[in-house]
Symmetry: C2
DNA sequence: ACCACTTAGTGTCAAATGTCAACTAAGTTA
DNA sequence: TAACTTAGTTGACATTTGACACTAAGTGGT
Protein backbone atom coordinates (compact mmCIF):
# COMPACT_ATOMS: atom_id res chain seq x y z
CA UNK A 1 0.00 0.00 0.00
CA UNK A 2 0.98 3.60 -0.42
CA UNK A 3 1.45 5.52 2.77
CA UNK A 4 3.50 8.49 3.79
CA UNK A 5 5.80 6.11 5.62
CA UNK A 6 7.10 4.83 2.27
CA UNK A 7 9.53 7.69 2.12
CA UNK A 8 10.79 7.05 -1.36
CA UNK A 9 7.22 7.48 -2.55
CA UNK A 10 7.28 11.11 -1.51
CA UNK A 11 7.86 13.63 -4.27
CA UNK A 12 10.62 16.21 -4.01
CA UNK A 13 9.22 19.57 -2.89
CA UNK A 14 10.75 22.98 -3.54
CA UNK A 15 9.49 26.48 -2.86
CA UNK A 16 10.18 28.81 -5.77
CA UNK A 17 9.69 32.54 -6.11
CA UNK A 18 8.80 34.90 -8.91
CA UNK A 19 10.04 38.21 -7.51
CA UNK A 20 8.82 41.19 -9.52
CA UNK A 21 9.95 44.80 -9.58
CA UNK A 22 9.00 47.66 -11.87
CA UNK A 23 11.87 49.79 -13.17
CA UNK A 24 11.73 52.64 -15.71
CA UNK A 25 12.41 50.18 -18.51
CA UNK A 26 9.58 47.84 -17.50
CA UNK A 27 8.80 44.82 -15.38
CA UNK A 28 11.74 42.72 -14.17
CA UNK A 29 12.04 39.40 -12.41
CA UNK A 30 14.84 38.20 -10.15
CA UNK A 31 16.67 35.10 -11.44
CA UNK A 32 19.33 32.95 -9.84
CA UNK A 33 22.09 31.18 -11.73
CA UNK A 34 22.19 27.53 -10.69
CA UNK A 35 25.51 26.37 -9.28
CA UNK A 36 24.72 22.69 -8.78
CA UNK A 37 23.95 19.92 -11.13
CA UNK A 38 20.49 19.65 -12.48
CA UNK A 39 20.61 22.52 -14.96
CA UNK A 40 23.93 23.83 -13.54
CA UNK A 41 24.76 27.18 -15.12
CA UNK A 42 21.19 27.86 -16.21
CA UNK A 43 19.02 30.64 -14.91
CA UNK A 44 16.11 29.70 -12.65
CA UNK A 45 13.60 31.23 -10.29
CA UNK A 46 15.16 31.53 -6.82
CA UNK A 47 14.03 28.62 -4.69
CA UNK A 48 14.86 26.26 -1.89
CA UNK A 49 13.78 23.22 0.02
CA UNK A 50 11.35 23.20 2.87
CA UNK A 51 13.22 22.99 6.17
CA UNK A 52 10.96 20.71 8.16
CA UNK A 53 12.78 21.67 11.34
CA UNK A 54 12.74 25.45 10.81
CA UNK A 55 9.80 26.48 8.64
CA UNK A 56 6.50 26.84 10.41
CA UNK A 57 4.48 26.80 7.18
CA UNK A 58 4.78 27.31 3.43
CA UNK A 59 4.68 31.08 3.56
CA UNK A 60 7.45 31.09 6.18
CA UNK A 61 9.52 28.90 3.88
CA UNK A 62 8.91 31.32 1.01
CA UNK A 63 9.94 34.30 3.18
CA UNK A 64 13.09 32.49 4.27
CA UNK A 65 14.05 31.80 0.64
CA UNK A 66 13.32 35.44 -0.16
CA UNK A 67 15.69 36.56 2.58
CA UNK A 68 18.38 33.94 1.96
CA UNK A 69 18.63 34.15 -1.81
CA UNK A 70 17.74 37.76 -2.45
CA UNK A 71 18.22 39.55 0.86
CA UNK A 72 14.74 40.96 0.51
CA UNK A 73 11.75 41.23 2.79
CA UNK A 74 8.87 41.59 0.37
CA UNK A 75 5.82 43.62 1.27
CA UNK A 76 3.62 41.37 -0.78
CA UNK A 77 3.69 37.60 -1.17
CA UNK A 78 1.03 35.46 -2.80
CA UNK A 79 0.84 31.80 -3.64
CA UNK A 80 0.56 31.27 -7.39
CA UNK A 81 0.11 27.49 -7.35
CA UNK A 82 1.81 24.13 -7.38
CA UNK A 83 3.44 22.66 -10.41
CA UNK A 84 4.22 18.98 -10.23
CA UNK A 85 4.91 16.06 -12.53
CA UNK A 86 7.20 13.10 -13.00
CA UNK A 87 9.58 14.67 -15.51
CA UNK A 88 10.21 18.30 -14.60
CA UNK A 89 13.17 17.36 -12.39
CA UNK A 90 15.57 14.60 -13.50
CA UNK A 91 15.98 13.57 -9.85
CA UNK A 92 12.38 12.33 -9.72
CA UNK A 93 8.74 13.20 -9.24
CA UNK A 94 8.80 16.76 -7.95
CA UNK A 95 6.64 19.66 -6.92
CA UNK A 96 7.29 23.37 -7.06
CA UNK A 97 5.20 25.42 -4.66
CA UNK A 98 5.37 28.82 -6.32
CA UNK A 99 4.89 32.23 -4.76
CA UNK A 100 5.08 35.61 -6.37
CA UNK A 101 6.53 38.61 -4.52
CA UNK A 102 6.24 42.28 -5.38
CA UNK A 103 8.95 44.65 -4.27
CA UNK A 104 9.40 48.38 -4.56
CA UNK A 105 12.22 50.10 -6.46
CA UNK A 106 13.86 51.04 -3.13
CA UNK A 107 14.55 47.46 -2.21
CA UNK A 108 15.44 46.92 -5.83
CA UNK A 109 18.26 49.44 -6.05
CA UNK A 110 19.68 48.15 -2.78
CA UNK A 111 20.49 44.87 -4.47
CA UNK A 112 20.99 46.11 -7.99
CA UNK A 113 24.42 47.53 -7.32
CA UNK A 114 25.36 44.77 -4.90
CA UNK A 115 28.11 42.22 -5.39
CA UNK A 116 25.81 39.32 -6.00
CA UNK A 117 27.02 37.37 -9.00
CA UNK A 118 24.60 34.49 -9.00
CA UNK A 119 21.43 36.57 -8.76
CA UNK A 120 20.30 39.09 -11.37
CA UNK A 121 17.31 41.08 -12.51
CA UNK A 122 16.05 40.27 -15.98
CA UNK A 123 13.50 42.22 -18.01
CA UNK A 124 10.24 40.53 -18.89
CA UNK A 125 9.00 40.95 -22.44
CA UNK A 126 5.51 39.65 -22.87
CA UNK A 127 5.37 36.97 -20.23
CA UNK A 128 8.89 35.57 -20.48
CA UNK A 129 12.57 36.44 -20.15
CA UNK A 130 15.09 36.15 -22.96
CA UNK A 131 17.24 33.43 -21.44
CA UNK A 132 16.06 29.81 -21.27
CA UNK A 133 15.12 28.75 -17.76
CA UNK A 134 15.85 25.56 -15.83
CA UNK A 135 13.19 22.93 -15.10
CA UNK A 136 9.71 24.14 -16.12
CA UNK A 137 10.40 27.59 -14.74
CA UNK A 138 9.43 29.25 -18.01
CA UNK A 139 5.94 27.81 -17.58
CA UNK A 140 5.85 28.85 -13.94
CA UNK A 141 7.00 32.37 -14.77
CA UNK A 142 4.28 32.59 -17.41
CA UNK A 143 1.69 31.63 -14.79
CA UNK A 144 3.06 34.19 -12.34
CA UNK A 145 3.07 37.07 -14.84
CA UNK A 146 -0.43 36.09 -15.95
CA UNK A 147 -1.60 36.19 -12.34
CA UNK A 148 0.02 39.57 -11.78
CA UNK A 149 -1.39 41.08 -14.96
CA UNK A 150 -4.88 39.72 -14.42
CA UNK A 151 -5.01 41.06 -10.88
CA UNK A 152 -3.97 44.52 -12.01
CA UNK A 153 -7.31 44.87 -13.79
CA UNK A 154 -9.45 44.68 -10.72
CA UNK A 155 -7.32 45.05 -7.59
CA UNK A 156 -5.05 47.38 -5.72
CA UNK A 157 -2.13 45.00 -5.93
CA UNK A 158 0.20 47.28 -7.98
CA UNK A 159 0.63 49.58 -5.00
CA UNK A 160 3.21 47.11 -3.68
CA UNK A 161 5.49 47.87 -6.62
CA UNK A 162 5.88 51.44 -5.32
CA UNK A 163 7.80 52.76 -2.32
CA UNK A 164 5.89 53.33 0.89
CA UNK A 165 5.08 56.95 -0.01
CA UNK A 166 3.90 57.72 -3.52
CA UNK A 167 1.77 60.15 -5.49
CA UNK A 168 -1.41 59.37 -7.37
CA UNK A 169 0.40 60.16 -10.60
CA UNK A 170 3.02 57.54 -9.86
CA UNK A 171 0.36 55.00 -8.96
CA UNK A 172 -1.48 55.65 -12.20
CA UNK A 173 1.77 55.25 -14.13
CA UNK A 174 2.29 51.83 -12.55
CA UNK A 175 -1.17 50.70 -13.59
CA UNK A 176 -0.63 52.06 -17.07
CA UNK A 177 2.66 50.29 -17.56
CA UNK A 178 1.35 46.97 -16.29
CA UNK A 179 -1.81 47.21 -18.37
CA UNK A 180 -0.01 48.55 -21.42
CA UNK A 181 -2.56 51.29 -22.03
CA UNK A 182 -3.25 54.78 -20.76
CA UNK A 183 -5.99 55.47 -18.23
CA UNK A 184 -8.21 58.46 -17.70
CA UNK A 185 -6.92 60.61 -14.86
CA UNK A 186 -10.25 61.62 -13.39
CA UNK A 187 -11.77 58.11 -13.60
CA UNK A 188 -8.63 56.62 -12.05
CA UNK A 189 -8.73 59.01 -9.11
CA UNK A 190 -12.42 58.39 -8.56
CA UNK A 191 -11.79 54.63 -8.35
CA UNK A 192 -8.90 54.97 -5.97
CA UNK A 193 -11.03 57.18 -3.74
CA UNK A 194 -13.90 54.69 -3.78
CA UNK A 195 -11.62 51.71 -3.17
CA UNK A 196 -10.47 53.52 -0.03
CA UNK A 197 -7.20 51.67 0.44
CA UNK A 198 -4.73 54.56 0.41
CA UNK A 199 -4.56 57.63 2.63
CA UNK A 200 -2.79 60.99 2.25
CA UNK A 201 0.31 61.59 4.33
CA UNK A 202 0.01 64.99 5.95
CA UNK A 203 2.33 67.92 5.31
CA UNK A 204 4.53 66.30 2.69
CA UNK A 205 4.94 66.90 -1.00
CA UNK A 206 7.81 66.77 -3.52
CA UNK A 207 9.25 66.83 -7.05
CA UNK A 208 10.60 69.81 -8.93
CA UNK A 209 9.68 72.53 -11.39
CA UNK A 210 5.94 72.22 -11.06
CA UNK A 211 3.09 71.84 -8.67
CA UNK A 212 3.93 69.40 -5.90
CA UNK A 213 1.76 66.32 -5.50
CA UNK A 214 0.09 64.95 -2.43
CA UNK A 215 1.84 61.88 -1.05
CA UNK A 216 -0.14 58.79 -0.15
CA UNK A 217 0.51 55.51 1.55
CA UNK A 218 -1.28 52.18 1.75
CA UNK A 219 -3.77 52.00 4.58
CA UNK A 220 -2.90 49.45 7.23
CA UNK A 221 -4.49 46.02 6.87
CA UNK A 222 -5.59 46.88 3.35
CA UNK A 223 -2.88 45.17 1.36
CA UNK A 224 -5.20 44.01 -1.43
CA UNK A 225 -8.61 45.44 -2.17
CA UNK A 226 -10.68 44.31 -5.13
CA UNK A 227 -12.59 46.70 -7.36
CA UNK A 228 -16.17 46.07 -8.35
CA UNK A 229 -15.28 46.82 -11.92
CA UNK A 230 -12.32 46.81 -14.19
CA UNK A 231 -10.23 49.95 -14.04
CA UNK B 1 22.94 20.73 3.83
CA UNK B 2 19.38 20.22 2.81
CA UNK B 3 18.88 18.44 -0.46
CA UNK B 4 16.16 16.32 -1.93
CA UNK B 5 18.36 13.31 -1.30
CA UNK B 6 17.78 13.68 2.45
CA UNK B 7 14.58 11.76 2.15
CA UNK B 8 13.38 12.30 5.67
CA UNK B 9 13.55 16.01 5.01
CA UNK B 10 10.79 15.75 2.46
CA UNK B 11 7.33 16.74 3.62
CA UNK B 12 4.40 14.37 3.25
CA UNK B 13 2.30 15.28 0.20
CA UNK B 14 -1.35 14.44 -0.34
CA UNK B 15 -3.81 15.44 -3.06
CA UNK B 16 -7.20 16.37 -1.62
CA UNK B 17 -10.45 17.20 -3.36
CA UNK B 18 -13.38 19.48 -2.64
CA UNK B 19 -16.06 17.92 -4.87
CA UNK B 20 -19.13 20.15 -5.20
CA UNK B 21 -22.62 19.43 -6.45
CA UNK B 22 -25.74 21.56 -6.41
CA UNK B 23 -28.95 19.82 -5.30
CA UNK B 24 -32.38 21.37 -4.73
CA UNK B 25 -31.53 21.92 -1.08
CA UNK B 26 -28.30 23.76 -1.85
CA UNK B 27 -24.60 23.22 -2.35
CA UNK B 28 -23.11 19.92 -1.16
CA UNK B 29 -19.59 18.58 -0.81
CA UNK B 30 -18.44 14.98 -0.91
CA UNK B 31 -16.76 13.81 2.30
CA UNK B 32 -14.99 10.56 3.14
CA UNK B 33 -14.96 8.93 6.55
CA UNK B 34 -11.38 8.12 7.55
CA UNK B 35 -10.73 4.45 8.32
CA UNK B 36 -7.11 4.69 9.40
CA UNK B 37 -5.39 6.30 12.27
CA UNK B 38 -4.71 9.98 12.12
CA UNK B 39 -8.26 11.23 12.70
CA UNK B 40 -9.78 7.73 12.26
CA UNK B 41 -13.57 7.96 12.21
CA UNK B 42 -13.58 11.65 11.32
CA UNK B 43 -14.89 13.10 8.10
CA UNK B 44 -12.36 14.50 5.65
CA UNK B 45 -12.06 15.70 2.09
CA UNK B 46 -11.38 12.69 -0.16
CA UNK B 47 -7.67 12.47 -0.86
CA UNK B 48 -4.73 10.26 -1.58
CA UNK B 49 -1.00 10.10 -2.04
CA UNK B 50 0.81 10.86 -5.23
CA UNK B 51 1.78 7.63 -6.98
CA UNK B 52 5.18 8.50 -8.32
CA UNK B 53 5.10 5.44 -10.56
CA UNK B 54 1.59 5.97 -11.98
CA UNK B 55 0.66 9.65 -11.93
CA UNK B 56 1.97 11.71 -14.78
CA UNK B 57 1.29 15.00 -13.04
CA UNK B 58 -0.73 16.59 -10.23
CA UNK B 59 -3.94 16.85 -12.19
CA UNK B 60 -3.68 13.18 -13.15
CA UNK B 61 -3.26 12.32 -9.48
CA UNK B 62 -6.35 14.38 -8.66
CA UNK B 63 -8.38 12.65 -11.37
CA UNK B 64 -7.25 9.26 -10.10
CA UNK B 65 -8.35 10.11 -6.56
CA UNK B 66 -11.65 11.37 -7.97
CA UNK B 67 -12.21 8.03 -9.72
CA UNK B 68 -10.91 5.81 -6.91
CA UNK B 69 -12.65 7.43 -3.97
CA UNK B 70 -15.81 8.73 -5.58
CA UNK B 71 -16.20 6.84 -8.83
CA UNK B 72 -16.60 10.16 -10.62
CA UNK B 73 -15.13 11.69 -13.71
CA UNK B 74 -15.58 15.40 -13.13
CA UNK B 75 -16.13 17.77 -16.01
CA UNK B 76 -14.35 20.52 -14.19
CA UNK B 77 -11.24 20.40 -12.04
CA UNK B 78 -9.26 23.37 -10.77
CA UNK B 79 -6.33 23.71 -8.42
CA UNK B 80 -7.27 25.71 -5.34
CA UNK B 81 -3.84 25.86 -3.75
CA UNK B 82 -1.38 24.18 -1.43
CA UNK B 83 -1.76 24.11 2.30
CA UNK B 84 1.31 23.13 4.26
CA UNK B 85 2.76 23.45 7.71
CA UNK B 86 4.51 21.49 10.42
CA UNK B 87 1.48 20.71 12.56
CA UNK B 88 -1.50 19.95 10.36
CA UNK B 89 -0.64 16.24 10.25
CA UNK B 90 0.66 14.49 13.40
CA UNK B 91 2.91 12.33 11.21
CA UNK B 92 5.04 15.35 10.31
CA UNK B 93 5.50 18.35 8.05
CA UNK B 94 2.87 17.88 5.36
CA UNK B 95 1.35 19.47 2.29
CA UNK B 96 -2.13 19.18 0.87
CA UNK B 97 -2.39 19.98 -2.82
CA UNK B 98 -6.07 20.84 -3.10
CA UNK B 99 -8.30 20.72 -6.15
CA UNK B 100 -11.96 21.54 -6.44
CA UNK B 101 -14.24 19.60 -8.76
CA UNK B 102 -17.70 20.51 -9.97
CA UNK B 103 -20.11 17.77 -10.95
CA UNK B 104 -23.61 17.80 -12.36
CA UNK B 105 -26.64 16.34 -10.60
CA UNK B 106 -26.60 13.40 -13.07
CA UNK B 107 -23.31 12.11 -11.78
CA UNK B 108 -24.51 12.99 -8.32
CA UNK B 109 -27.58 10.75 -8.28
CA UNK B 110 -25.53 7.88 -9.66
CA UNK B 111 -23.55 7.77 -6.43
CA UNK B 112 -26.19 9.04 -4.07
CA UNK B 113 -28.10 5.77 -3.92
CA UNK B 114 -24.97 3.66 -4.12
CA UNK B 115 -23.69 1.31 -1.45
CA UNK B 116 -20.79 3.45 -0.44
CA UNK B 117 -20.64 3.66 3.33
CA UNK B 118 -17.47 5.66 3.81
CA UNK B 119 -18.32 8.45 1.38
CA UNK B 120 -21.24 10.84 1.75
CA UNK B 121 -22.58 14.15 0.51
CA UNK B 122 -22.91 16.85 3.14
CA UNK B 123 -24.70 20.18 2.78
CA UNK B 124 -22.64 23.35 3.03
CA UNK B 125 -24.07 26.15 5.11
CA UNK B 126 -22.12 29.34 4.72
CA UNK B 127 -18.69 28.01 3.89
CA UNK B 128 -18.56 24.94 6.12
CA UNK B 129 -20.23 21.63 6.89
CA UNK B 130 -21.80 20.76 10.23
CA UNK B 131 -19.42 17.96 11.19
CA UNK B 132 -15.86 18.68 12.34
CA UNK B 133 -13.27 17.77 9.73
CA UNK B 134 -9.91 16.00 10.04
CA UNK B 135 -6.58 17.83 9.70
CA UNK B 136 -7.08 21.44 8.54
CA UNK B 137 -9.73 20.39 6.08
CA UNK B 138 -12.22 22.91 7.45
CA UNK B 139 -9.80 25.66 6.43
CA UNK B 140 -9.24 24.06 3.06
CA UNK B 141 -12.97 23.68 2.46
CA UNK B 142 -13.44 27.33 3.36
CA UNK B 143 -10.84 28.29 0.75
CA UNK B 144 -12.49 26.08 -1.87
CA UNK B 145 -15.99 27.46 -1.29
CA UNK B 146 -14.59 30.99 -1.32
CA UNK B 147 -12.90 30.28 -4.64
CA UNK B 148 -16.09 28.82 -6.08
CA UNK B 149 -18.27 31.68 -4.88
CA UNK B 150 -15.87 34.39 -6.01
CA UNK B 151 -15.57 32.88 -9.47
CA UNK B 152 -19.33 32.76 -9.85
CA UNK B 153 -19.33 36.55 -9.90
CA UNK B 154 -17.31 36.93 -13.04
CA UNK B 155 -17.04 33.60 -14.85
CA UNK B 156 -19.01 30.92 -16.57
CA UNK B 157 -17.88 28.27 -14.12
CA UNK B 158 -21.36 27.38 -12.77
CA UNK B 159 -22.34 25.63 -16.03
CA UNK B 160 -20.37 22.65 -14.81
CA UNK B 161 -22.87 22.14 -12.01
CA UNK B 162 -25.59 21.47 -14.61
CA UNK B 163 -26.15 18.47 -16.89
CA UNK B 164 -24.87 18.69 -20.45
CA UNK B 165 -28.13 20.13 -21.77
CA UNK B 166 -29.83 22.90 -19.83
CA UNK B 167 -32.07 25.93 -20.26
CA UNK B 168 -31.16 29.53 -19.61
CA UNK B 169 -33.65 29.55 -16.76
CA UNK B 170 -31.87 26.66 -15.08
CA UNK B 171 -28.51 28.34 -15.59
CA UNK B 172 -29.78 31.55 -14.05
CA UNK B 173 -31.16 29.58 -11.08
CA UNK B 174 -27.70 28.09 -10.48
CA UNK B 175 -26.09 31.52 -10.45
CA UNK B 176 -28.80 32.82 -8.15
CA UNK B 177 -28.40 30.03 -5.64
CA UNK B 178 -24.64 30.31 -5.56
CA UNK B 179 -24.75 34.08 -5.23
CA UNK B 180 -27.64 34.03 -2.78
CA UNK B 181 -29.52 36.77 -4.58
CA UNK B 182 -31.86 37.06 -7.53
CA UNK B 183 -30.67 38.31 -10.91
CA UNK B 184 -32.43 40.24 -13.62
CA UNK B 185 -33.53 37.93 -16.41
CA UNK B 186 -32.87 40.23 -19.32
CA UNK B 187 -29.49 41.39 -18.08
CA UNK B 188 -28.48 37.80 -17.36
CA UNK B 189 -29.36 36.69 -20.88
CA UNK B 190 -27.54 39.62 -22.43
CA UNK B 191 -24.40 38.67 -20.49
CA UNK B 192 -24.57 35.03 -21.47
CA UNK B 193 -25.02 36.00 -25.12
CA UNK B 194 -22.02 38.33 -24.99
CA UNK B 195 -19.85 35.81 -23.18
CA UNK B 196 -20.53 33.46 -26.08
CA UNK B 197 -19.69 30.23 -24.33
CA UNK B 198 -22.96 28.31 -24.73
CA UNK B 199 -24.82 27.37 -27.89
CA UNK B 200 -28.42 26.31 -28.50
CA UNK B 201 -29.08 22.65 -29.25
CA UNK B 202 -31.32 22.46 -32.29
CA UNK B 203 -34.85 21.07 -32.33
CA UNK B 204 -35.13 20.26 -28.66
CA UNK B 205 -37.22 21.75 -25.89
CA UNK B 206 -38.94 20.44 -22.77
CA UNK B 207 -40.85 20.90 -19.46
CA UNK B 208 -44.60 20.97 -18.93
CA UNK B 209 -47.60 23.25 -18.66
CA UNK B 210 -46.00 26.34 -20.11
CA UNK B 211 -43.85 27.67 -22.89
CA UNK B 212 -40.97 25.30 -23.61
CA UNK B 213 -37.45 26.63 -23.26
CA UNK B 214 -34.54 26.42 -25.63
CA UNK B 215 -31.87 23.93 -24.59
CA UNK B 216 -28.24 24.95 -24.56
CA UNK B 217 -24.92 23.27 -24.06
CA UNK B 218 -21.39 24.44 -23.30
CA UNK B 219 -19.39 25.25 -26.43
CA UNK B 220 -16.39 23.01 -26.92
CA UNK B 221 -13.06 24.30 -25.59
CA UNK B 222 -14.87 27.03 -23.65
CA UNK B 223 -14.97 25.46 -20.22
CA UNK B 224 -14.35 28.73 -18.37
CA UNK B 225 -14.90 32.19 -19.80
CA UNK B 226 -14.45 35.33 -17.74
CA UNK B 227 -16.82 38.24 -17.85
CA UNK B 228 -15.60 41.80 -18.13
CA UNK B 229 -17.88 42.78 -15.31
CA UNK B 230 -19.63 41.26 -12.37
CA UNK B 231 -22.96 39.67 -13.18
C1' DA C 1 -63.16 27.57 -28.32
C1' DC C 2 -61.50 30.32 -25.10
C1' DC C 3 -59.66 31.95 -20.84
C1' DA C 4 -56.53 31.57 -16.92
C1' DC C 5 -51.99 30.47 -15.74
C1' DT C 6 -47.07 29.73 -16.10
C1' DT C 7 -42.64 30.28 -17.75
C1' DA C 8 -39.74 31.94 -22.02
C1' DG C 9 -37.87 35.62 -24.10
C1' DT C 10 -37.70 40.86 -25.63
C1' DG C 11 -38.08 45.99 -25.35
C1' DT C 12 -37.91 50.40 -22.99
C1' DC C 13 -36.21 54.03 -20.31
C1' DA C 14 -34.08 56.30 -16.37
C1' DA C 15 -29.82 56.12 -13.85
C1' DA C 16 -25.13 55.26 -13.52
C1' DT C 17 -20.65 55.06 -15.76
C1' DG C 18 -16.75 55.89 -18.81
C1' DT C 19 -14.59 59.27 -22.17
C1' DC C 20 -12.98 63.43 -23.52
C1' DA C 21 -11.64 67.78 -22.85
C1' DA C 22 -11.33 71.98 -20.66
C1' DC C 23 -10.32 74.36 -16.61
C1' DT C 24 -8.06 75.97 -12.20
C1' DA C 25 -4.03 75.38 -8.87
C1' DA C 26 0.68 75.59 -7.44
C1' DG C 27 5.00 75.27 -7.97
C1' DT C 28 9.83 76.40 -10.98
C1' DT C 29 12.63 78.83 -14.28
C1' DA C 30 13.96 82.96 -17.24
C1' DT D 1 5.89 88.47 -13.73
C1' DA D 2 5.15 85.61 -17.78
C1' DA D 3 5.90 80.96 -19.64
C1' DC D 4 5.93 76.28 -18.53
C1' DT D 5 4.92 71.94 -16.24
C1' DT D 6 2.43 68.81 -13.63
C1' DA D 7 -1.55 68.31 -9.94
C1' DG D 8 -6.09 68.05 -9.30
C1' DT D 9 -11.19 69.29 -10.49
C1' DT D 10 -15.23 69.98 -13.19
C1' DG D 11 -18.63 69.36 -16.78
C1' DA D 12 -20.73 67.73 -21.22
C1' DC D 13 -21.80 63.82 -23.78
C1' DA D 14 -22.04 58.96 -25.45
C1' DT D 15 -22.44 54.41 -23.75
C1' DT D 16 -23.64 50.93 -20.61
C1' DT D 17 -26.37 49.07 -16.87
C1' DG D 18 -30.37 47.73 -14.14
C1' DA D 19 -35.34 47.73 -13.09
C1' DC D 20 -39.53 46.69 -14.98
C1' DA D 21 -43.04 46.00 -18.18
C1' DC D 22 -44.28 43.74 -22.11
C1' DT D 23 -45.08 39.98 -25.71
C1' DA D 24 -44.74 34.84 -26.86
C1' DA D 25 -45.85 30.04 -26.44
C1' DG D 26 -47.13 26.39 -24.30
C1' DT D 27 -50.77 23.51 -20.75
C1' DG D 28 -55.06 22.65 -18.61
C1' DG D 29 -59.79 23.80 -17.07
C1' DT D 30 -64.47 25.13 -18.32
Amino acid sequence: MNSPEDLYQRPIVSVDLAIFALVPAGLEVLLACRGTDPFAGDWALPGGWIHVDKDRDLEAAARRVLADKAGITAPYLEQVGVFGDALRDPRGWSLSVTYMALISPDAFTLRHGGNVTDVAWRPISGDAVMEPLAFDHATILRAATARLRSKVEYSTLPVHLLPEAFTLGELQAVYERLLGRSLDKSAFRKRMAEADFIEPIEGEMRRASNRPAQLYRLKQARSTVFFDRTI
